[in-house]
Symmetry: C2
């Protein structure tokens, strides 16, 4: 009898949180299962590939969440500049709330495992490309040419990912806010 | 009789390389000593604090190298835009040479340990602030106002750090080159 599907989600949720807080290698499989509340046996049912398979699933889930956030903000804002500013403010608030311990949703796992782990790398590519595509589409709606919009989207992803690293180190949301403000200026100058 | 000082440097060099390639938690203390060629006993002589102390020393050493690179490039280039472009090209070449496995010099260690480990976090702050200060000084020499120069330097650090993550995931130096080109445009528009 297969365990209920909710356990899969609980395992992935726990992995997303633990990987984000302390990284992939430092998080044990037993710790993930324990934090998830799922019965120990269920982990091999859902993830016969073990921890690496959970790593790929966690990156996909983190990517889905980022995309959901960006899509939500794209609807509630009027321009790419407002979108990136709102996103940076949200990230800064989350970071502050966690005492700057709860940073980049997938960066640590990707830095530890890409490109050597194929499925984790593929999950990262899909997540980054979906996020980038959403931003580029928003920039195009603002009047930025397609090629330029893709370049600005690439820079934006880089800047927000790197600003999350700086925010942890400086224990401040300022690197995120500064990145968004400067990106907004560049967007305006690119129409 | 204390072991020769060269062993300390060899241990730090090995740690910088291994942490950069696979992260902090995934790298064992024994692996660092083995890769360094130092006698096993010497590690506790130089680093009574064990692996965490090596982590802080590795971040400081990585920071020194970044600063050396940026200072060297500041002398051989004519503007902040040329500097960041040359830096990005260098990083992209190093990444390609390593099969995109040898990425960010300190980001993984910082994401895994900041802010919970005090000495590693302090080493990261010093490294990022020194790099940022060098860039801001270059921007000011180009005619950018001091406050703005510091903001652009902060964005630049974020963008290059994040682009290194993207470069690993995409196995391409393009995110680095795009970031530098777009930052150069923003610098020019900020004079």
């Amino acid at each position: 009898m297969p365990p209920p599907a909710k356990h899969r989600d609980a395992i992935v949720d726990a992995a997303v949180r633990l990987f984000r807080q302390k990284g992939y290698a430092a998080t044990g499989l037993a710790e993930i299962v324990e934090a998830s509340g799922a019965p120990k046996g269920s982990v091999y049912h859902y993830f016969p590939g073990g921890k690496a398979a959970i790593g790929a699933a966690a990156v996909r889930e983190a990517g889905r969440r980022v995309l959901g956030t960006v899509r939500g903000l794209a609807e509630s804002t009027q321009s790419a500049g407002e979108l990136v500013t709102a996103h940076a403010e949200l990230l800064a608030a989350w970071m502050a709330q966690s005492g700057y311990r709860d940073g980049a949703p997938m960066t640590t796992v990707l830095l530890e495992n890409a490109p050597q782990d194929g499925p984790i790398t593929a999950a990262g590519q899909d997540a980054l490309r979906a996020w980038s595509g959403e931003l580029a589409a928003r920039l195009e709606r603002d009047g930025v040419a397609s090629d330029r919009a893709q370049r600005l989207a690439s820079l934006t992803l880089s800047a927000l990912e790197g600003a999350l690293v700086q925010a942890r180190v400086e224990q401040s949301g300022l690197p995120l806010i500064i990145a968004a403000q400067e990106l907004s200026r560049l967007y305006l100058a690119s129409v």
